[in-house]
Amino acid sequence: MLIPCPHCGLRDHAEFAYSGDAGLKRPAPDANDEAWFDYVYQRNNTPGEHVELWHHIYGCRQYIAVTRNMRSHDVRGSRFAATPEAES
């Protein structure tokens, strides 16, 4: 499987460490328990497209947010996790 790294280009996924759901937003310190529980533990995990983090540990060491289909493994796009979606 190939992961499009915005810096390094198409690379085999063996260069990356998978790092889970890219959609998680750390709640404010005073957010309620539900919000925190949701952030740390609950995942949508619905079949189909999934935006997820791949850490390019053998390359540029950036966390890449990759849009990938969980059924077909087709990769639709990627961006640096550090870059807000808007800019990508």
Binding site: Y18, P47, S72
Partner: protein, 441 residues
């Protein structure tokens, strides 16, 4: 001696047993012999492929080992016979039919150890109980240790097991060598074998037979097994599940349990639940059939790898997850290569032997590596999932406690700790100590 009808005590007079006996359906060598004389023409259906009724007392979604076992124990132990098992494809087609068939109860944490030991005890009687040979082979499960720290960790685990009444032995290097001599004990080994933890009562079973055996026994007790019936949604009424929408129409139910490991998240989502679960793919491999030379299940501590040899002669082995969320029951090459490297390193003679088939199973990976069996916020909706990659060995116990939970509306002491709310309370069951990173468990 070959006759398998044996009544050890009154409990053996199970309904299914009597039914089979009366209907002349009882499997036995004698029956096999009789059938040989008329060309095996007299065998009835192993299980009736039922059409769904309008409604049931209990619907179990998922016709894998866990779902079928649940239905069987509901009927056998709790007297609930108006039960349907809904399977979207063919029974046993999920992870029941795609695993490396390893059975063990060698866990560190007491919650796990006690539960899996209960499963193991059920395994020991399963063939006789179901009158279907599931070929539970107690050939032993040997976990190799490759460092002092690992030996200490295994000692901790083994001692905890022994104090919980579970068999376990700590082997030194030379004892391991006597047991499995053709592993690499040379000095070119990257990770020398220090010793290992052995559970002799562990072993393997014939995975398909487990689904078929439970299906046959449950069917004999009046459970409807409905194949090619995909659940597409839940009909809710007053915060309760009223029934399920399926590819074969609406089916009403008093209570609904799901046992669809691998797909728990999206089935639960239909009932409005979000779970601490991710789906990941785990590959497994089988070699060409060879004259048996490995009679124990061996797991390799350094570089995740486990291997056993089936009764057909194939080496059955596997390794790590593919490490990314997936609902596709197939993996990729890096894991294939890494598993083969580990295989060659542990057994340097495997080089010329050939990999025959590889496959992938979709695993519910939970946030602490332990399953979820119990109640949900929806009060007549019960969940059984999150088996990570250890679901097969749990099959009988999982069905047993799930049946209890659904029938009585409350978890059994054995599955109480595996509640969904443990993640909220922080009373986690993290045998590996890996934290909320499902792909690391």
């Amino acid at each position: 001696m070959l006759v398998s009808i044996k009544i050890r005590n009154i409990n053996d007079l199970t309904p299914s047993f009597c039914y089979n006996l009366i209907m002349g359906r009882q499997y036995s060598a004698f029956r096999l012999f009789r059938e040989a004389l008329n060309g095996q023409q007299g065998w009835p259906l192993a299980w009736a492929d039922a059409a769904p009724k309008k409604s049931y007392d209990i619907i179990i979604i998922g016709g894998g080992g866990h779902g079928l076992a649940t239905a069987y124990y509901l009927a056998k132990l709790h007297g609930v016979r108006n039960v349907a098992v809904l399977e979207k494809g063919w029974i046993g087609g999920g992870n029941t039919g795609r695993n490396t068939t390893i059975i063990r109860s060698n866990y560190l944490l007491p919650e796990n150890a006690l539960f899996y030991e209960h499963c193991l005890k059920l395994w020991e009687d399963l063939s006789l109980d179901l009158n279907f040979n599931v070929m539970f082979s107690q050939r032993g499960v040997l976990n190799l240790a490759n460092s002092d720290a690992q030996m200490d960790a295994y000692a901790r685990r083994g001692n905890a097991m022994r104090l919980s009444g579970i068999d376990s032995e700590l082997l030194e290097r030379d004892q391991v060598r006597r047991m499995v001599p053709h592993m690499d004990f040379s000095d070119r080994s990257r990770f020398p074998i220090y010793g290992g933890l052995l559970q002799r009562r562990g072993g393997t079973a014939r995975h398909d037979a487990v689904a078929w055996g439970y299906a046959r026994a449950a069917s004999a007790l009046g459970v409807d097994i409905v194949q090619n019936c995909e659940v597409t949604g839940f009909r809710m009424a007053g915060g309760r599940v009223a029934g399920v929408e399926t590819s074969r129409g609406f089916i009403g139910a008093e209570r609904v349990g799901i046992a669809v490991a691998g797909h728990t998240s999206h089935v639960a989502a239909m009932a409005g639940l979000k779970l601490p679960v991710e789906s990941h793919v785990l590959q497994a491999f089988v070699s060409e059939a060879l004259k048996p030379f490995l009679d124990t299940v061996v797991t390799f501590g350094a570089g995740h790898f486990y291997i056993s040899q089936s009764d057909k002669g194939g080496l059955v082995f596997g390794g790590d997850l593919d490490f990314y969320n997936s609902y596709a029951s197939r993996g990729n090459m890096p894991i294939v290569e890494d598993v083969a490297s580990a295989a060659m390193s542990l057994f340097p003679s495997l080089g010329p032997l050939r990999l025959l088939r590889s496959w992938g199973g979709v695993m519910d990976m939970t946030m602490d590596g332990s399953p979820i069996i119990g109640l949900t916020p929806v009060d007549n909706f019960y969940i059984n999932g999150g088996w990570c990659y250890g679901g097969f060995k749990a099959t009988p116990g999982s069905g047993w406690v799930f049946a209890h939970t659904i029938a009585t509306g409350a978890p059994h002491a054995l599955n109480a700790p595996f509640s969904l709310d443990r993640f909220k309370t922080g009373r986690l069951i993290d045998d590996k100590g890996a934290g909320p990173y499902p792909w690391l468990h």
